[in-house]
Amino acid sequence: MRAWFFTETAYPYLPPQEEFESIRVQLPNRMFDPQRGADLYHRYIDEWLYAEECGLDIMLNEHHQTATCMDPAAPIMLGILARQTRTARLLLLGNPIANRRDPVRVAEEMAMVDVISRGRVEVGFVRGVPYEISAMNSKPVGMHERLWEAHDLILKAWTTHDGPFNWESEHFHHRQVNIWPRPWQQPHPPVWVTALSPGSIAPVADHHYVVATFLTGRDKTRDIFAAYRERRRAQGHGQPNNDRTAYAALVYTGETDAEGQAGAEKLMWYITHNKVPPHFSNPPGYNSVDAVVNVLRSGKSPYLFGNFSLDTLIEQGIVFAGSPDTVRRQIRRFYDDVGGFGHLLIMGQAGFLEHDETVTGIRLFGREVYPHLKELA
């Protein structure tokens, strides 16, 4: 198993949640202090570099118009990390290509950073969370179709080396596509795609890409990974290796269980500070009709974990927290319950988990937990 350290680069210095309607889309940016923001950027980069020192790989993502993530242009951060790191694999999970207007630009960005990093980039393609719809003026219906159409264009741009080609599809038109530089890795950097339900697994499995799932807990994760494996077998490819599956959880390792749980309580900022009204969390067309009917009936967002206790989240495998021994056992149990997986994406910093605490969590995980996970194939 490989472990990837991830921080969503939050800007946590906000007024009480009662004082605003939404942490995303509409929160006025006068609440962002550029000086504090600069300090946070440098701190978060330092934490990624420390994770590399501890033998972990690095993951980053992007979100828009939100205090939960100060990285709306992840390729820029990826470029910084490509220069600042030496050994870590660099996973951008991901590029929201159903929302990006110009897939050729995405192909260029990823190829450029792949070359700067001498072939350490792993490229995620994601649909983007529903709150990105307004921020990127992206149509919430037909996103799946746009994502795969953009994917096809990006892959062709990466792998065409004998001069320009032209592209005129439903959503994208581009003449004389001929990217410089081409990627370092051949035929192209490894590709990851996120899936939050078994229903969207088929094209991911058919391309044999890494499927990544976020905070989906024990049962749903097992179903998603099982759907991937079943699809590979049904298409005559045999059982895929575990390196095709990735799971993201909140992870904090302390010296003791109490210390680990205290760290995890702070990480829970990530799920408790996500106040978003239904018109942004549930735009028409983003979720299935059945899911939206349930939302209308119950008045509850499909993304609410906010009321769950830490114990419940640990039981569901959404949080791994405690002493090194406890975290090891929790991950091992989760591994067995979901039929194995190959990549642990560690949300190891959020909210007010301070730098020293973050570094302690990374160090203890890297020294005391990770060596025992590496042997899990």
């Binding site: 919430p140 018109h279 009917v293 009936r297």
Partner: protein, 269 residues
């Protein structure tokens, strides 16, 4: 007019399976629904069916009707319905469009008025007069349902569905219709930037029928639209919002009949 070959609720138009109803007797009236979908059981339609042969299609995607890969915009819908009226020879046709359906009627008429008698635009969207930093129509996808209901209705408490009381199928229809609406109107939002410059091509008389409490397509916008058309009148319906046909069906039917040369309307200008 002769009956349309509607089979199992479906009409074929150049390879597109179109959900469609035909009711009533008299000259043909094509009714183009707005973003909430068609309302075949509404009292205004029953009243108008005594005067017209009403053709009530469901735009592909609404109420779970089949999408067609070729029909992706209001412009595509305009060609679909022009094909329908050509292929089935609907001459002397009155086209009545609600909201997005009014926009659609304008798209059709700016292409050709060859078979058209008149247009009735009811709280129609589709034309942009405002500057680049002013929305012509509030973004209904960026506000809560109750706020949207206040924009849409004169009496939102009476007109808003109680989601808890709706059946599974009714809720699913509501959700499906919102998806279908976004399919057609997301960007540019509820309008075609080129339509204003094409309005001179509408060679038939137009009556703009408007709810005076409409907060989505305001009466002021409706008056601007009427003024931008070569031959248009503007009729206001009191105590109605974006859907006067539902909030004030009697006054609405009177206004339609008056516009079509029937009984004088009991509505004030």
């Amino acid at each position: 007019m002769r009956d349309l070959p509607v089979d199992g609720g479906m009409l074929r138009v150049r390879g597109v399976e179109l959900a469609c109803r035909q009711v009533g007797h008299g000259p043909p009236l094509l009714v183009l629904h707005g973003g909430s979908g068609p309302t075949p059981g509404a009292s205004y339609l029953a009243a108008l069916a005594a005067h017209f042969t009403i053709i009530l299609p469901t735009h592909p995607g609404f109420y779970g009707s089949p999408h067609h890969g070729r029909i992706r915009s209001v412009d595509d819908l305009a060609y679909l319905y022009l094909d329908l009226i050509d292929d089935y020879g609907l001459d002397g046709l009155t086209v009545m469009g609600f909201s997005m359906g009014g926009w659609l009627a304008l798209e059709m008429a700016t292409k050709t008025c060859a078979r058209l008698e008149r247009l009735l635009l009811v709280d129609a969207v589709g034309v942009k007069f405002a500057d680049r930093e002013t929305r012509q129509f509030p973004d209904i996808f960026a506000q809560a349902q109750d706020a949207v209901a206040r924009l849409m209705f004169h009496d939102p408490a009476r007109m808003t569905p109680d989601f808890a009381a709706l059946s599974e199928d009714e809720l699913a229809a509501f959700v499906t219709n919102r998806e279908a609406l976004i399919h057609y109107v997301w960007e540019p939002y509820l309008h075609n930037p080129k339509l204003l410059a094409r309005l001179h091509r509408v060679k038939v008389p137009v009556t703009c029928i408007w709810g005076d409490s409409d907060g989505l397509a305001t009466p002021n916008y409706g008056r601007q639209l009427a003024a931008a058309l070569p031959d248009a009148r503007f009729e206001l319906i009191r105590q109605a919002g974006h859907a006067p046909q539902l909030e004030q069906p009697q006054a609405f039917v009177a206004a339609v009949l008056a516009a079509c040369g029937g009984q004088p309307a009991r509505v004030e200008p």
